[in-house]
Subunit: 336 residues, 3 copies
């Protein structure tokens, strides 16, 4: 592919030699002839001096000595270049002879089903679905077209997965939620007869878990992105396009809005509501509903500016105690 | 089943028409004719106005227009109704032809062993045990009657699992603990020859891990409930009926009492003792043993009332600094 | 084996009867005749009174009534004794007939490949590698000699694993990192064409995840030890011999030095650098690079002594407010 074609394909503006042959993407450090690299800030332009890439994707107003594609959102253009120059496998491998598929389940066209996959009865699998080695799909599940299920994912009975969903290795969809009823010294398990419903264009990271509902549904909205090792409790609903970083724990029966962003290791108590567009800093604890959009942080989520001030005072705590003692001593002198 | 029979079966008192046919449980929102739903607080009674359930399970003194079963612990009665009206599969599927079971292992009666399960040598599997697809049982393991092992659980060699235990997908029982001996710049792995022993009626969530002991045993007591993505370190002992929410991390060699309750993301350092009945708020950090029952919270666990007061002062920290400065200025004036 | 031989083998000094037969290691509580146990502090010597071990491994200057091996680092000597007296399986089981191995992949000598393992095309597996049941190795992976891959580990395409590496059950190596490009209301997935490179003598715990790089490599240095349920983000580099306890979350593009030690549940933001030898207390949050070795703790990592002082003041916060109010009242009186 030549640079001018690539520029067009990624919606950028060509600067320099449009006839350069581009055959791959690479980092500034490892790029050589034929590679296109990526620099999105002026401060990183000097790194290009020692770089032998053929070209660079960059932002408006960032000047470099290399031939370039300028784009409004350079990262977006680079993501598109990666897709074009490094297409994901995608070829349909067919159904491996070791896959155990219940005959009552229906598979769409051009599916790839890997070795040792098991698919229970009554499932509906869409077109161009990839299910990799040793994944386990329960009974009565639906998986929308174009979805990719990585090795060893487990999808419990009755789960509904949208189109173009990616579930990474080890993710568990639809295990029972954590609800027990205390009576005397014992705890009785609450049976879970609800399901998990995952929308379109969702990505869920490795070893993350989404529990099924007691009744009704646990819902992951369209476009939601969940990182690795995240826990989503039973009956919780996560709104469209929300983004949840690694190791977060969201308890049961929460209502998380749209476009909510959570940093890593955030914890949310049960029955919490979080408004659309809320951003939670890493490690935030949420024990009361958040009704207004904004950025929040701290052990008991508070607006981030407030939290920062509280934290500055916290770090001065020891000095504060000394100042207080000094004042008290002076006060005593005055009284005498 | 008619309502009067169900009332008897769940130990509740019938209010209204005992001859109503009930065939399922459902949420207030989705219940229709034939369904019984569940409302456990007066504040939720108005929700029943638009609900077309045939009946409702509710608490003493909560009046509704629907025919009802009143129960001392409504959630307990509803859990029982779920069990009665939605019995879990339970049918013995037999042993799938692809299961690889060492001939030296013994299986009880009416077991269900799924596709691609592997069971090492010298195991003793009790009656009515279910082992789902692709689970891996090591050598010399024991699994008590009635237990359910979900897909892809891994049980390392020598683990002992009680009766009626539920291990959810991806749980790992008996991996080596995290112990290395520093010498110079290197770390030598401490071999782990101990085991994990799990009591009766334990439930362990998806992708949770319980490490084996260096010597002797890591013990999960009878009736313990562990949520998803929880880590239990080597040689730790968890007392009966304790409840551990998602993403908690319990280090090695801890002694956790009976009926201890931990919220999500709690972290406990190694060699800690926690008394019976202690409750730890979500995200609590425990770095010193807790000898008295009570509710604790905070980065260094403190009694919850204390912690709340500390936190109130924390949030006022910035104002505190301003008040302090004002006093200092006044003091200087006085001195002049 | 007799005690004098064992003393020599573990590099310790014999005290007492060198002809005692020793056939196993055991805890003080459960040791009997033939067992050697381990006591590394004077305070635990009284426990030996009721112990019927044949001998004990102990430290310099710790006197006991039992025959003993004294060692500079008793834990190291005990680890060596465990290795000698309880050798890990190690026998080559050969290749199970159910393993699906692409013919274009090369296996070294004396490998053990368990049931239902799948190995993609173009892999190079070294000598004496053990791959346990249902593990999934993608295409083009390399695994160095002597490594042990426990059941259900998933290694994505192109990953490079060193020699004598241990990957515990459920670990996921090389899933896509968590990077999306916002444009309008949507998020485009950044394709990940980089790999994961794991050095020699690394151990990674159960259900932990190491994401692949966007470009280039995510690197786990030689000798690194990672506990269970840890997340390592894309493009991050972890220096040699660092130790990371359970449930830590390390974001993308971090540079973690050598010999760094992290307690449990530590969280590190993206693009952070941490100097060699830094120690992070459990639950530390790191949002700014740490350039100097030392021990750090707190929500925004600070030197541990500072943090402790801040925390002492935090716990006195409520009293501080009372003292401040009292001073203000006095001040008002004085002004009158």
């Amino acid at each position: 592919m030549i640079l001018s074609e690539l520029a067009k394909a990624v919606g950028g503006v060509l600067r320099g030699d449009g006839n350069l042959e581009i055959d791959r993407c690479a980092s500034v450090r490892n790029a050589g002839t034929g590679a296109i690299t990526y620099v999105d800030s002026k401060s990183r332009v000097p790194d290009l001096d020692a770089c032998s890439a053929s070209a660079v994707i960059t932002g408006d107003g960032i000047k470099t000595n290399l031939s370039a594609i300028e784009a409004d959102i350079p990262a977006l253009a680079f993501a598109m270049a990666l897709e074009i120059l490094h297409p994901a496998g995608g070829k349909a491998d067919g159904i491996h002879q070791t896959a155990v598929i219940d005959p009552s389940s229906k598979l769409g066209g051009e599916c790839s089903i890997g070795p040792y996959v098991t698919i229970g009865g009554g499932c509906e699998i869409g077109d161009r679905v990839t299910i990799r080695a040793s994944a386990v799909i329960g009974e009565g599940c639906r998986i929308g077209g174009g979805s990719v299920i990585f090795p060893r994912v487990v999808i419990y009975d009755g789960s509904i997965i949208g189109r173009n969903v990616i579930l990474h290795a080890g993710a568990v969809i639809g295990a029972d939620g954590f609800r027990f009823v205390e009576h005397g010294n014992e705890r009785k398990k609450m049976p879970h007869i609800g399901i998990v419903r995952i929308g379109d264009d969702v990505e869920i990271g490795a070893n993350s878990c989404v529990d099924r509902a007691v009744l009704d549904e646990t819902v992951i909205g369209d476009g939601v992105k969940i990182d690795n090792l995240v826990q989503v409790g039973h009956n919780t609903v996560i709104g469209e396009n929300s983004v949840i970083a690694g190791s977060c724990g969201i308890s049961g029966s929460c209502r998380i809005g749209r476009n909510v962003v959570m940093g890593g290791q955030v914890g949310i108590a049960d029955h919490i509501e979080i408004a659309d567009g809320v951003v939670l800093a890493a490690k935030t604890g949420v024990t009361a509903s958040i009704k207004k959009p904004g950025v929040y942080g701290g052990s008991f989520a508070q607006p981030i500016a407030e939290w920062r001030k509280s934290h500055v005072a916290y770090r001065k705590g020891s000095e504060t105690l000394r100042r207080l003692s000094r004042l008290e001593q002076k006060g005593e002198k005055v009284e005498k």
